[in-house]
Every structure is written in C-alpha cells, then in structure tokens.
C-alpha cells in the first residue's frame, strides 16, 4: 500500500513515542550537524526556498519566501514560534506527529532558528495535547542535555533557547498574531497587519511563526536536498509529502504520510478503506473545516494547494473529512458554522455578529422552517462576510458556506420546499 517514503512518520510506531535514542538511530540530528558545520544561514533559506516547501498551517505560503523577508540582521531578541494550536475540526496531524516523534520538531526548530539567526523560540501547544506537551518537554530536555539546544550548540557558537507554552483552548489562537498576543499573556485578539510579525511580532520583536509540520520538514530537506524533496510529490508543481488526517465516514480514519498531489480517490478508496457502511461518497472537506467541499467529481484532482484552489477549494491542512450519501449538507454546514461562531474572538462585527446570524438562518432551514428569502439572505451573508472580516477566521467560515451554496443549493431548496430535512 504505502510506497511513499516516510519522512515525518518514519519513526512512528503506534502507541509509542520515539525519543532521542530512537530518533538518532534513524539519522536524527544529522541534519543539524551538517548544517552547523557546512551551511550558512542564507544557504539554508535558499535551500528551503528552492525545495518548494509550503506552509503546512493551512495558508500554504512558501516557507523559504517567508523566511527571506525575515530581518535576520536586526539585533536580538528575535523569535521563532511554532504553531501547534491545531484546533480546526478535521485536523489532527500535528498531534500525531508530536505523539510519534517530537525530536523532529526540535531539530527543525533549531535549524530554522539558525537559518533565521534567531536566538529564542516558543512552541505553542493547544490544551488538549497534554501528551504531546509532555513529549516535547522530554525531548527539549534531552536535546539540551545532548547539546542540540541551548548555548553554543554543537560547538558552533550558535545559541538557541526553546520554551513551551501550553494554551487553554480557543481556535483563534492558531491565527498567528492572536497566538502572539496569547503568548504575551494578553487577550488573544488578532493584531492589525501591517506591521507583520516579521517586523514587530512577539514582544514587539521580529518573529516568524511556522506550523509544526512545516518545521519538522526542515531536517529532511537539509539531508535530502531540494530536488529530492520536490520529487516526493506526485504532481510536478508539488513538493514533499504531506500528513493527511482522515476522518468522517471512512472505514479507516487515521493519519498517513502521503505524497503531495495524491488524488482524492486514492485517499478514500485505498487509505480510507472506502466509505463506511458500504455507502457512497457524497462530499468531503479536503483540508479542515474551513475548506470548501469537494464532491465525487473532484476524485481525480491531485491534492495540492494550486490544484484545489483552481476548483474553488483549498488544500488547507489536508485533514480530509468524508461525508457519506446519507449526510445532510445543510446540517454539516450548520455544525461547521456553529464551530466558527463559537470560536470567534469577538473583535470584529462580520464574524462576531454575522456568523451567529448565518447559524440562525441555517438552523431555520435545517428545521424546515426556512424560506427562499432566507436562502437569499444566506447568500447575502456569504457575500458580505467573505474577505471583510478583521482576520481570516470568518473568511474560513465562509468555506463550507460557499461549498453549500455552490454545490448543494438544491439540497437547501429541498429543505425549504419540503418543509423538513430530507435526510
């Protein structure tokens, strides 16, 4: 089945965590040794840029490009922050990674810090990842003791201090500027941009925020080179592997490391073991709760950032949630919107007050009490919320609503015409 080379999951043994010994056995920290001895920071940035690695936190921005904007020459302190908030429904890959092999993140962070000339780092971990938090605590202690972290790492003269921060719940903290406020102990509302974190981030200092999986890829890119990394993907534009977290109405709902560009059909049929209860595939969220639905007609599209954007969806976090043909998409959308409404930080009007209004409309329709006017109003809400909120949370909430109206409008109309949910 899995012929994909395993990078991120190479040490994964269900129920066990690889710590320093296991990690080093398969080449752990060799990238760090290599980089500190033979590579300049600029070379690393260049390598990551040419590797085609794109942010795994959801937005898919080129990591190397983002790093190249970082003002490395500014005086300390500067910060590297790892985003392990991972609270978007359908997304659990970072948790899996840290449960299996936490040292990858530590090594990836030291390397990234070296590349960016940053001397202090934070890993921001969501409340529910208590086990992962403990794994990281242990990994950090081990790395420190082994000289991979702390002062004068491997005698290179490079220092890097790494702190862990356990959060206390709330999806918005995944948004990078809200996360920085959270780290500072302030109310985690997103910040206005510009200034971007690279200019004024944590405690007003230059900061870069990256996703767990993004950072964990760095050691592999250093060891394998950019061409090799690019070649891992199935599609020519793609690069690397990707952790796909499967969920929903599949027979197998696990997390797999698979090549970027793999088609949806393979995910569903091969890795997901087909739709459960021998039912049919109806739709899926391809990359977390904020990504517009794909349907059966999208089965052959290679799963990657640009290919999914081309069909009006997003690759997001590659958390694939599948819905079978007995699922009411109005109800699914309502559930998703309720999530976003509840997780709104309360700062801006379209999100704070607009999303509850959307929920009210969807609930009405789902209960069979909706009118065609409500559908019109729903469309209006979609038009007005999208792109006009303060941060991307409300924007993300429009993903499923967009999918509903573009792909399942008839289902909405059925609710209205029949006066009840047809499912």
């Amino acid at each position: 089945m899995s012929s994909t080379p395993q990078l991120l999951f190479k040490n994964r043994i269900p129920g066990k965590t690889a710590f320093l010994k296991e990690y080093c056995k398969t080449g752990g920290y060799s990238a760090l040794v290599k980089a500190l001895k033979t590579m300049s920071p600029a070379e690393i940035v260049q390598l990551v840029k040419s590797s085609g690695l794109r942010g795994r936190g959801g937005a898919g921005f080129s990591t190397g490009l983002k790093w190249s904007f970082f003002p490395s020459d500014k005086p300390a302190p500067k910060y590297l922050v790892c985003n392990c908030d991972e609270m978007e429904p359908g997304t659990y890959k970072d948790g899996e990674l840290l449960a299996a092999d936490p040292h990858q993140l530590v090594e990836g962070m030291v390397l990234s810090a070296y590349a960016l000339n940053v001397d202090e780092g934070y890993i921001f971990i969501r409340y529910a990842y208590e086990g992962q938090f403990k794994n990281l605590q242990k990994a950090v202690a081990e790395a420190k003791k082994a000289g991979y972290l702390g002062k004068n790492i491997l005698g290179s003269g490079f220092d890097f201090e790494l702190h862990l921060h356990g959060s206390a719940g709330r999806y918005i903290l995944g948004e990078e500027t809200a996360l920085l406020n959270g780290l500072e102990g302030k109310r985690p509302n997103p910040r206005i941009k510009p200034p971007f974190p690279a200019e004024r981030g944590l405690f007003g200092r230059p900061t870069t925020v990256n996703n767990v999986e993004t950072l964990a890829n760095i050691p592999h890119i250093i060891n394998g080179g950019s061409e090799w990394f690019k070649g891992l993907a199935r599609n020519p534009e793609g690069a690397g592997t990707k952790l796909f977290g499967l969920s929903g109405h599949l027979n197998v709902t696990e997390c797999f490391e698979l090549p970027v560009g793999i088609p949806l059909s393979e995910i569903v049929e091969v890795y997901g073991g087909g739709v459960w209860k021998s039912r049919k595939f109806k739709a899926c969220l391809p990359g977390g709760a904020s990504t517009p639905y794909l349907t059966a007609e999208h089965m052959d599209i290679p799963l990657d950032f640009d290919t999914l954007a081309a069909v009006g969806s997003r690759f997001g976090t590659a958390g694939v949630t599948v819905f079978d043909d007995k699922t009411c998409m109005v109800a699914v959308t309502l559930n998703l919107l309720q999530f976003f409404a509840r997780e709104s930080c309360g700062w801006c009007t379209p999100c704070r007050d607009g999303l509850p209004l959307v929920c009210w409309l969807l609930e009405k329709i789902e209960k069979g009490q909706g009118t065609m006017g409500d559908l019109e109003m729903l469309k209006e809400q979609y038009r007005h919320i999208g792109g006009r909120s303060f941060c991307a949370l409300a924007e993300g909430a429009m993903g499923p609503l967009d999918g509903l109206m573009r792909l399942f409008e008839q289902e909405v109309i059925d609710h209205i015409e029949k006066g009840h949910c047809p499912f």
């Binding site: 709330r170 918005i172 109310r187 206005i192 409404a341 509840r342 997780e343 709104s344 930080c345 309360g346 700062w347 801006c348 009007t349 379209p350 704070r352 007050d353 607009g354 509850p356 209004l357 009210w360 109003m377 209006e380 809400q381 007005h384 006009r388 909120s389 303060f390």
Partner: protein, 789 residues
C-alpha cells in the same frame, strides 16, 4: 499632505490621515464606531466601508484603515459598499434591545444616527437575543450592557487613554462584556468619559438618570470652573437646573476628555442653600434697594474717610471681565488696586505665571507631545486632573516623566518620583547648579527635543515659579524648554494679569488688621475660606464697618455680609476665563438663573414654579452689578473692546467665541521682577504641609453633593520610617498641634511621601478645612492620643 478625491470632491488631509478623516473633513457621512479621533483606528467594527477606485489598495476597504494617498479616488456610493454598510448595521443591531424610548442616550445616540446612516432599517433576525446582567459601577456611571455593540471604545478610553486599572473586556465571541472584575465604583478619576465615548446607551450619567431627554436640554459651550486648566465643557440643564456636564472639544487643551470632578461636580449650581436673594444684615430685601444702598454707603464712606479705607477683593472664580471692572471701581473710588486672591502667596504665584513670556508657556497639547516632562511641586490629580491625562499620553508616546514633590503622588502612567520636601525643592531651585539631581535633570532637559517643566503654584508659590523660570532658561538646549504653571482657579491667570505692580508683599489680612480699612467688597470669593489663616480672617472681617459680598455660593461670609448681592454662576452668564497657559476662553450662558423647578414644584407635571421673591430680584452677573456701580453701559462685546484698548496683550479678546479653541494672550510685559519674602523651614524640624485633596478642596467641589462619595476621611499622613522613629503605628490616633488648632486624627502611612514632613489634605466639612493649601508648611507637634492625655 495628500490630496484625494471622494465622491468627486477633492480634499487635502494632514500627513498620516486616513480616508475616513478625509471624508469627515468633507462632511461626507461614512458611519463608523470603533474609530474616534482621540483613540485612533483599530478596524474592529467594519462599519466604515468605502470603495477605493484608484489607489495602491483597490476595492472595498475600511476607510479608517486606509491611509490617504495623493490622487486617490474614493467612492462612498458604490452599491456593494452601501449594501455592506447596511449589513453591518443589521449585524450590530441583532441583539440590541430596541429600548430607545427608555434610554438616556436617545436623541444623541451615535448608534441611532449611524444605523440610519448605514441604511439599516428593519431587523430580519427573529431569534433569541443575547442578554447580560449589568454591574453596579458606583454613583457616577450606569451600565446597560444589552445595548452594547462591541466597538471596544470604552476599554480604549478607560484603560488605554485614561489609564484606569479596573475596567476591561471579558469573554469572547458574541458574549464579550465590558466592565469591572467585580461590581463596585469605578476607581478612575476619569470614569465619566465612558459616557461620552460609548456610542450608545451602555454607559450613561447616573447622576442624571431618567431626568431629561437630550433634545429638551439647554446647552451651551463653556469652560470648566474647577481648576486652572480651563477644559472645554458642554453643560446642559433645564427648568433652571444644571443637570449634566459633558466634555467639550478643544484639541489644544483637554482634547475630548474631562475629569470626574468637572463632570459630576456641577450640582453646586443647584445647591438648595444657594443664596438667591439680596440681603442687608441678613434680611431679605429687594435687589435694587440693596444695590442703591451699597452705592450710597460706598460714596459716603469714601467722602468721609477717603478711598484708602476701601478694599476690593476679586477672585479666580470670577470672570476676567468682572475682575477688570473691579479694578475700575477701585479707580473710581480712589481705593488701592484690588486683590485677586485672598491667599497672598497664591496671588503672587498667579502674577508670576502671568508674567512668563507667552511663547514660553506650554499648552496641554504640547505636553501630550513632549518627550521629557519634569513636574516640580505639583500633584496633577489633585490640582489639575486633566494634566494627568496629558502626561499619560506623553508617556504612551515614549516620554519620560519625572516628578519632584513631597506628596505620595499617583499618576496614570509610569513616572520617576523624587519625594523632596517643599523647602528642599525651593532651596534646590534657588541654586540648581549646586543640586546634583537638578543638575542632572537640567542636562537631560537640555538634550531632549520637546521638554516641558510643570510647576505647581500651590507648592512653589510665585517665588518658586520665578526660580523655575530661571531654571527653564538654563535648560534650553537646541529647543526651548517650555513651562506649564498650574494655578488655583479657572481665572487665576487673569487675576495675575490685573494684579498691581509692587504689591507682592501685600497681605489683605494685615491691611484689615493694621490699617484704617473700613469697607471690603468681595466678588465671588470667600476670604475666610481662601486665606491661609481662615480663623484670623474671619475675625478681621467681623471688625469691618461694611462688608459687601457678591456671590452665588452659600459661604459663611455671605451669611455675615452687611450687604449681599446674589450673582449668576458661570452657567448663567457669559464671560471669559484665562487659563494657566494664558489662553483666553469664552463661556456662554446655559440657563436662566432661578430656583430649579424640581425644588419648588412637587414633581407634578407640568412643572410649576412658585416665585418666592419679588419680581426683578433674580441674580445678576457680577459684571452687571459692577457695571451698574460704574455706570458703564457697554455690552459684553463693547466691554471687551474697551479692555483691549487698555490691555493690548489681550488683543484677541473680542474675537473669542464660546466653544472655539480660545486664544493665547500676547506677552503682557516684562517678567515680574518683584519677590515675596518667604522663610523656608529647615530640614529636620517636623512640619505639616496642607494640600489640596483630590475631591473637595477646589473652589466648587465642597458644595457639590454628587462628589461627596469621593471625599476622603480626615487623616494625617506620615512616612513610615519617620513614624517608626517616633514609635507610631499605621492607623494610630494622634493629636496634631499647629497654629491653626489641634486635631485628633488617624495617622496614615504613605511610603512614597517625603520624610521629615506630615501632610494633611484640606477637607471641607471636617475640622481639616482650615488647612488651606497654597502656603508654606507649618510648624507642628504630634503626639499619640494616649500620651497627650
């Protein structure tokens, strides 16, 4: 300065201005909530959408967040933006209780106006509304959270701008709550600004709840009479009752903020004991009769004994016009020039401040923009509260604030405090080059860009202010070091301009005690409160043959006057005050004088007023009374023109309009070269320093019932080390012996005050009211109550 076009109209805005600023400047209504000129833009409410047709960012954007650019083309009328603004209006109103008919904000509610401006009319949402439990925030501010639209202005006002530490935003999503950690009175001295800044009726004036619809109010721009800063205010009232005060707007002084003393301390105007009828020896008489009698007696007195036997006392409370007419009256009767403050040391401080070259005086705006501020002998929250706000804004922009003051100062910002005694401050200033601290501060002031020295007239006196002026000259590096003197009352500076030369050592009380003075006219002042030795003054007054008083406050001196004439308050007449930086500012009448109908009527409707006085006896303005005595028939404008002729430094006086930004006086002449003899106590002898309390000891607060909840308990303060040396414990009852009496008081430890001194706040209505601030510290002895017995 970018030039851009909005809806085909071209406008130039200041550098750094936004598209919203440009629209406002053109008078184009773009509804907005979270943006406020004093608070800046945060992009939260999303109400201000416009379409950028040409510019570096195109499309539908929030006008408050887009910097104005040259050649930008903006439209507010594109269909999409219009629809979006209406949608934002609908969102904001989803949970609104629609309780406008019972809301005090109704009629002046920005939410009403801007919802209509946004084009939202009918709410389509039919679900349950989110509701909140309100908090009890104390006697000043009422909260009704259900009306909240989550614009975050209140936190940004209370916490960010005013530095309050007991208010914030809690919760998340659609359930954010703006309030305190627990129920309880708001602690900030600027809490009332919540009322002005909340665009809807969440925070309303609790002292004026359910009494007036805003459209029924009589309002007129005015100037706050509580301290010398001259903040612009907008008082309102009806039925002859002053009901509320809101902040006016003057970007050169208070911007859009006022202190709680100003906002909630105006009910002295309606005081039930306010004297409203003319009296002769305590008996009510008809107004004209009293006035004629006064004239007759004055003429007779002058004829028989000469003008020398008459003294006139003006005041920092009275308008500049009244004070000037008093001077003319002195001339008419051949009397010595009037005093303008019964407190000789304060009077000298005012004269000294008024002689500082106008260009060297700082405005509050300049303070907000300063990068290094040295406070010398001034407690902003007690003497000039809005000054503290200006300091905070400077500090937020990165300024350093250093304070030299014996009191345990508190400020709503970070500052460095050196608790020096009054005497060591004065001695230090008299030879700053020998004082290490002052020398190092001098060097820092010299090298900063926009330094300002703030000097407190109360502590420093005129002598100290003069020394400070010399010090400031030595601090001028490449940039001038400006001075910001803090004085006693709203027109102290005006009195300072009028004060006679050569009388620096004059003292009203000595004149009364020694000489052949037979008559005294007091205009809107009570010398027995204002003088540094109230008891002695009272005795001296009682020996006068004729004591005539024009006033509107129920003072003791009013009660004992031989001839009393009631005057109109600042809210009932027009006039001018000159604030501490020499800014002339006009005020307009808000109300007719007369007994508030709530007092005379029984609350029935329509309210009825039953006159208890003969017609024609309503109070008249002090200006009017003095003009009558002078047979001067000028109207106010004519009077001002005449003043300009005599005092060219006030040349812009006739161009003032109430509600404008006021105009600075021009230089009045040379810096005062007189000095006042003062003997400064030695360090080492225990002395007691009377000070202004935060609430109660300014000119008006003591008659303001709304403020009494803020009055502190009488106590005497001591540094803990000083106390330990004498074996005292915190809270212990002690006996304090001074020349003004002896007092049984609890001893309160204040770790941040100067050593070697005791401090007593002057508190009206308590035995401590005799401790008039403004003088030097007094010798004293202190015992524990037990030892004393």
């Amino acid at each position: 300065m970018p030039t851009l076009t909005i809806d085909n109209q071209t406008v130039i805005v200041a550098e750094g201005g936004s598209v919203l600023d440009a629209a406002i400047a053109l008078g184009i209504v773009v509804p907005h909530y979270c943006y406020h000129p004093a608070l800046g833009a945060v992009g939260a409410c999303r109400q201000c959408a416009v379409t950028i047709l040409e510019g570096s960012q195109k499309g539908l954007k929030m006008a408050c967040l887009i910097p104005a650019e040259d050649d930008m083309q903006v439209s507010t009328c594109e269909e999409e933006a219009v629809a979006f603004r209406a949608q934002v209006g609908e969102w904001l109103m989803t949970n609104h209780p629609h309780d406008c008919p019972v809301c005090d904000e109704g009629g002046e509610c920005q939410l009403q106006e801007m919802t209509i401006g946004a084009g939202h009319g009918i709410r389509r949402y039919r679900g349950n509304k989110r509701t909140y439990l309100n908090q009890d925030l104390g006697p000043f501010v009422a909260q009704e959270m259900n009306r909240c639209i989550q614009c975050y202005r209140c936190v940004r006002t209370y916490k960010d701008y005013c530095g309050g530490e007991d208010f914030g935003v809690m919760g998340s999503q659609q359930r954010v709550f703006f309030g305190r950690f627990k129920d309880g009175p708001l602690e900030s001295d600027f809490s009332g600004n919540l009322i002005d800044f909340c665009p809807t009726g969440v925070f309303t004036d609790r002292t004026n709840r359910f009494r007036t619809r805003s459209w029924d109010l009589q309002q007129a721009p005015s100037i706050c009479p509580h301290c010398s800063l001259g903040c612009s205010i907008l008082p309102g009232g009806r039925y002859q009752e002053l009901q509320r005060v809101r902040a006016g707007g003057n970007r050169l002084t208070n911007d859009s903020f006022i202190c709680d003393r100003a906002r909630f301390g105006s009910d002295w105007n309606n005081h039930p004991k306010r004297p409203r009828e003319a009296r002769i020896s305590g008996e009510k008489v008809e107004f004209p009769y009293a006035l004629e009698l006064l004239e007759e007696r004055l003429e007779k007195l002058v004829e028989e004994y000469g003008g020398e036997t008459l003294r006139l006392l003006g005041s920092p409370r009275a308008s500049f016009e009244a004070n000037l007419l008093l001077k003319k009256l002195a001339e008419k009767y051949g009397a010595p020039a009037p005093y303008y403050d019964a407190h000789p040391r304060r009077a000298f401080a005012a004269r000294m401040a008024a002689s500082i070259p106008s260009g060297q005086l700082a405005s509050l705006k300049q303070l907000r923009e300063s990068d290094l501020i040295l406070l010398v002998g001034v407690d902003p929250l007690a003497e000039a509260p809005v000054l503290a706000l200006a300091l905070r804004q400077a500090a937020r922009a990165g300024a350093r604030i250093v304070a030299l003051d014996p009191r345990p100062l508190e400020l709503p910002c970070d500052f460095e405090h050196h608790p020096l005694t009054q005497e060591s401050l004065l001695r230090g200033l008299s030879a700053p080059e020998e004082n290490e601290l002052l020398e190092s501060l001098r060097q820092q002031l010299e090298t900063s860009q926009r330094p300002v020295l703030v000097g407190g007239g109360e502590l420093l006196g005129g002598e100290g202010l003069r020394l400070l002026l010399h010090f400031s000259e030595s601090c001028c590096g490449s940039h001038d070091c400006l001075i910001f003197p803090v004085l006693h009352g709203p027109n102290s500076f005006g009195g300072g301009i009028l004060g006679a030369t050569g009388d620096s050592n004059r003292n009203l009380i000595e004149d009364l005690e020694n000489g052949n003075v037979r008559a005294l006219i007091c205009v809107e002042t009570d010398p027995a409160i204002e003088h540094s030795e109230p008891g002695r003054m009272q005795l001296a007054l009682s020996r006068l043959e004729l004591l005539a008083v024009f006033d509107h406050l129920p003072t003791n001196t009013v009660a004992t006057a031989d001839i009393f004439l009631p005057t109109r308050t600042i809210y009932e007449c027009a006039g001018t005050f000159i604030n501490n930086e020499g800014r002339m500012q006009a005020f307009d009448p808000v109300l007719e004088p007369g007994i508030p109908i709530v007092v005379t009527g029984s609350g029935g409707h329509p309210p009825r007023q039953f006159e208890t006085t003969p017609p024609g006896s309503a109070p008249r303005s002090a200006v009017h009374l003095l003009q009558w005595l002078l047979k001067d028939r000028n109207d106010l404008f004519g009077l001002r023109r005449q003043i300009i002729k005599e005092l060219p430094c006030l040349r812009d006086l006739d161009r003032l309009a109430a509600g404008d930004n006021g105009r600075r006086i021009a230089d009045c002449g040379d810096t005062l070269e007189e000095s006042r003899t003062e003997i400064w106590a030695q360090e080492g002898e225990l002395q007691v320093l009377p000070i202004t309390a935060r609430y109660g000891s300014d000119l008006y607060s003591r008659w303001s019932q709304s403020l009494t909840s803020r009055f502190e308990e009488p106590s005497v303060w001591i540094h803990p080390v000083e106390a330990a040396e004498r074996g005292f414990v915190n809270g212990q009852k002690v006996v304090l012996r001074t020349v003004v009496g002896h007092f049984h008081l609890p001893l309160v430890f204040k770790a941040k005050m100067a050593r070697g001194r005791l401090i007593v706040p002057c508190l009206p209505g308590t035995p401590l009211e005799v401790f008039t601030p403004g003088g030097l510290s007094l010798p004293c002895k202190i015992y524990s109550e037990v030892d004393n017995a």
